[in-house]
């Protein structure tokens, strides 16, 4: 069985490389400017020594920058390969349809569909510690499926499917639309409920039964 990919952990690890380098660079530049301003304040009417450039130092410096770029990209590429990987054997499939302004979650083969209503947003129910395959599409304009807790989002386009895998730990989270989509964009949220696999199977069974009852009453 393939290892589960925890997008949040991947993000944290990668940011753990980028952020300290960024802070160090900012610190060095701030310190150099402060040093220059304090040490080389104009005092008299003297002309300072002039120079055209420091070719050797600059060439070495450019090489250092290039090395940093290579190191950052190497980490980015390996992380992206893991985050974007599509598993051969997902534990569950969920079809997500985004629309103005809400979400529909369908569990194919299970005859279960979740949609919110005017009073409350829909809840995306998933099993924990399972690779969940999402197939995402929009019914109208572009939306974006974002679960901040998982540090992951993917855009939903009309007439075009996007596929990605996510895994969940046992915790409540919220998801929302991240791509501006008109009037009620800000309210286009959903809740995420991750259940232990046995509980998830119970939930699925209940939903199926309720769906059948509803189906019968409607016909």
């Amino acid at each position: 069985m393939e290892a589960l990919i925890d997008t949040r952990e991947e993000f944290d690890d990668l940011l753990g490389l980028y952020l300290p380098i960024g802070i160090a660079v900012a610190g060095i530049v701030f310190a150099l400017v402060l040093f220059a301003v304090l040490r080389y304040r104009r005092r008299g009417d003297e002309m300072p020594r002039q120079r055209e450039g420091l070719p050797l130092a600059e060439a070495l410096y450019a090489l250092v920058l290039a090395a940093i770029v290579v190191a950052l990209l190497a980490a980015t590429f390996t992380t992206e390969d893991r985050v974007d990987r599509i598993s051969d054997h997902p534990g569950l499939e969920v079809d997500v349809t985004a629309f103005q302004w809400g979400w529909r979650f369908t569990y194919p083969g299970e005859a279960v569909t979740v949609v919110g209503d005017d009073r409350r947003p829909p809840t995306l129910v998933v099993p924990t510690d399972t690779t969940v395959r999402f197939t995402l599409e929009s019914r109208d304009v572009i939306h974006s499926f974002w679960i901040p807790e998982l540090r992951f989002k993917k855009d939903a386009f009309p007439e075009r499917e996007n596929t990605f895998d996510l895994t969940f730990e046992e915790e409540d989270a919220v998801g929302r639309c991240a791509e501006f989509c008109g009037l009620a964009h800000g309210e286009m949220t959903f809740d995420v409920l991750a259940l232990a696999p046995p509980d998830f199977r119970d939930w699925l069974r209940t939903q199926r039964r309720e769906g059948e009852i509803q189906h019968r009453t409607e016909t």
Partner: protein
């Protein structure tokens, strides 16, 4: 060479309307065109700033208080499109229109009538965009990016959106014309002795920016013209590939546009730092090389705005975008190397230039994070992005814009701006800017999306939003101090003289303001800092010592 007469002026002069309203409307003097472009841009800046204050006031507390959601969507759309299309880009070009002919020792801009037409088209386009407020459905409200299908006729119906799109087309045409004149000026109208490697840093950055504008602004014109046709029923983007095609066209312009709004301000900072350090700009040639590399790469990075679409080759655009670290780092190196060993005077222009330098760094470093797809998967379309581009455009470009105003105002008008008020304005803007925009990094990381009018009270966003709103009011006070400074300085005039800062470049060799055709005579152009050369030459001759000589 000394005192070479300028013959170009008489050749360009032609028929010039002599006085009255027509002369004001139809002047072909690049300096008057430029000042008007800058004044129009500043007017739009104040309006766009009021939109920003309304947005910040709405966001100070959870839920809706001040405006409805529809109005809010119009406000941020018009704020963004105003600042990009009508403020920062035109302001950059206006500084170029004024200063590039002077810096290269030309009598006028190349194609003054085209530049004039460009200026009027930008204004007309701006007014067209703003006329959308008068329509039934309200102004443009699909964001400044106007992604399709949201910007299509079925999702956003109404004449207002049509007018917004038409306005952007007009502005784009105007900006392209002005940029083309700047390119031609640097290529064709340089004074005798002014080789390409003696063109001052600011004019080089303007050349690079204008080249990018000429190559990419027409693309947004096409994207918008197709969008207008689509809205009128042509169904151009109405297919499975249409929405992503629109994004490609938009960002092929949209990302170089970011550097069009960066380069000239980097050039300003370079000039100001060199002058206020009394130092020849260090590392001129590597800087030109870095600019060229940057300009080339700028047209291969656009899809880093599209990492989350799942429809682009993320790694290629991540590679190209991250590679920009190298030329950007070289630019930073050159400016620091100019300061270290100089004789630094901290007047208002220098403070604003350093403000640009350090704050843009934060914008740039956060940009490196956004260039990494797995990090962008979280940050994209969150307040992290809003923080990032405001650090580049507001904390960056606009600070350098103020550096330019404080530095060249004496040249434009012949009078000095008050330095003490400038310093007060700097402190207010510095505090306000960071208070406004730094919390947005944290809000984005915590999951606050951009382009929303409200947020839940229990989302944990309230405190940081309050800080941010408070900061925006400080910015407003800072801008008010600037207006006061303009008023006081023009009312009780302190004459500036030709060269109040001991400038390095040719614009300081003529009167303030310069005469109609700029120069009565030109000093010899010996390098990219001809006036510094002359000063060193004279101090050597005067004192008979070798101090301060060129290497």
């Amino acid at each position: 060479m000394r005192g070479a007469e300028i013959g170009a002026g008489t050749a360009i002069a032609g028929r010039v309307p002599s006085g009255g309203l027509l002369a004001w409307i139809a002047t072909t003097d690049h300096k008057r065109i430029a000042l008007r472009m800058a004044a129009v841009a500043f007017g739009f800046f104040l309006v766009g700033g009021i939109f920003a204050l309304l947005i910040r006031t709405e966001l100070a507390e959870p839920e809706l208080q001040l405006v409805g959601r529809d109005t809010y969507n119009q406000l941020f759309t018009m704020h963004g499109s105003t600042m990009i299309f009508l403020v920062v880009t035109p302001l950059a070009l206006a500084l170029g229109v004024y200063l590039v002919p002077l810096q290269v020792g030309a009598a006028d801009i190349a194609g003054p009538r085209a530049a004039l037409a460009g200026h009027w088209m930008v204004l007309a386009g701006g007014l067209t965009m703003y006329s959308s407020f008068l329509t039934d459905h309200g102004a443009g409200k699909a964001g400044w990016t106007a992604y399709y299908p949201l910007s299509g006729d079925s999702a956003t119906p109404g004449t207002g959106m049509d007018l917004w799109v038409a306005g952007v087309i007009l502005v784009g045409l105007g900006l392209t014309l002005v940029a083309a004149c700047l390119v031609a000026t640097v290529i064709r109208l340089r004074a005798p002795g002014m080789t390409m490697l003696r063109v001052p840093v600011f004019s080089w950055t303007m050349l690079a920016a204008a080249l990018m504008a000429v190559m990419t602004v027409p693309v947004v014109g096409v994207a918008m013209a197709l969008l207008l046709a689509d809205r009128l029923g042509a169904g151009i983007y109405d297919s499975a590939g249409g929405p992503i095609a629109y994004q490609h066209l938009f960002w092929f312009f949209g990302h170089p546009a970011v550097y069009i709004m960066f380069f000239p301000f980097l050039g300003i900072t370079a000039e100001v730092v060199a002058t206020f350090s009394r130092r020849r700009f260090v590392g001129y040639k590597p800087l030109i090389l870095a600019l060229a590399a940057f300009t080339g790469l700028s047209m291969s990075v656009w899809a880093h705005h599209m990492f989350t679409t799942g429809q682009v080759v993320n790694k290629y655009f991540s590679l190209a975008s991250t590679a920009l670290v190298v030329p950007a780092g070289m630019e930073y190196f050159a400016i620091i190397a100019t300061m270290i060993g100089g004789a630094i005077l901290l007047r208002a222009p220098m403070l604003f230039a350093l403000g640009f330098f350090l704050q843009f760094l934060i914008g740039g470093l956060s940009g490196v994070i956004l260039a990494s797809p797995p990090l962008d998967y979280h940050a994209q379309d969150s307040y992290f992005v809003v923080a990032h581009f405001h650090y580049t455009l507001f904390a960056g470009s606009l600070f350098a814009g103020f550096a330019a105003v404080y530095y060249w105002f004496p040249k434009f008008t012949g009078v000095m701006l008050r330095d003490s008020l400038g310093k007060l304005q700097f402190v207010l803007l510095l505090a306000g800017t960071n208070l406004t925009f730094f919390p947005m990094f944290l809000l984005g990381y915590d999951g606050m999306p951009r382009r929303v009018a409200d947020y839940a009270p229990d989302a944990g966003f309230t405190d940081l939003n309050r800080l941010s709103t408070l900061g925006s009011y400080l910015v407003a006070i800072g801008v008010a101090v600037f207006l006061w400074n303009l008023y006081v300085s023009l009312r009780r005039r302190e004459p500036a003289g030709d060269d109040p800062w001991e400038g390095h470049t040719l614009e300081w060799a003529t009167s303030s303001p310069p005469p109609r055709y700029n120069f009565r005579s030109l000093p010899p152009v010996t390098s990219y800092a001809p006036l510094l050369d002359r000063r060193i030459e004279r101090s050597r001759g005067g004192r008979g010592s070798g101090r301060g000589g060129r290497r």
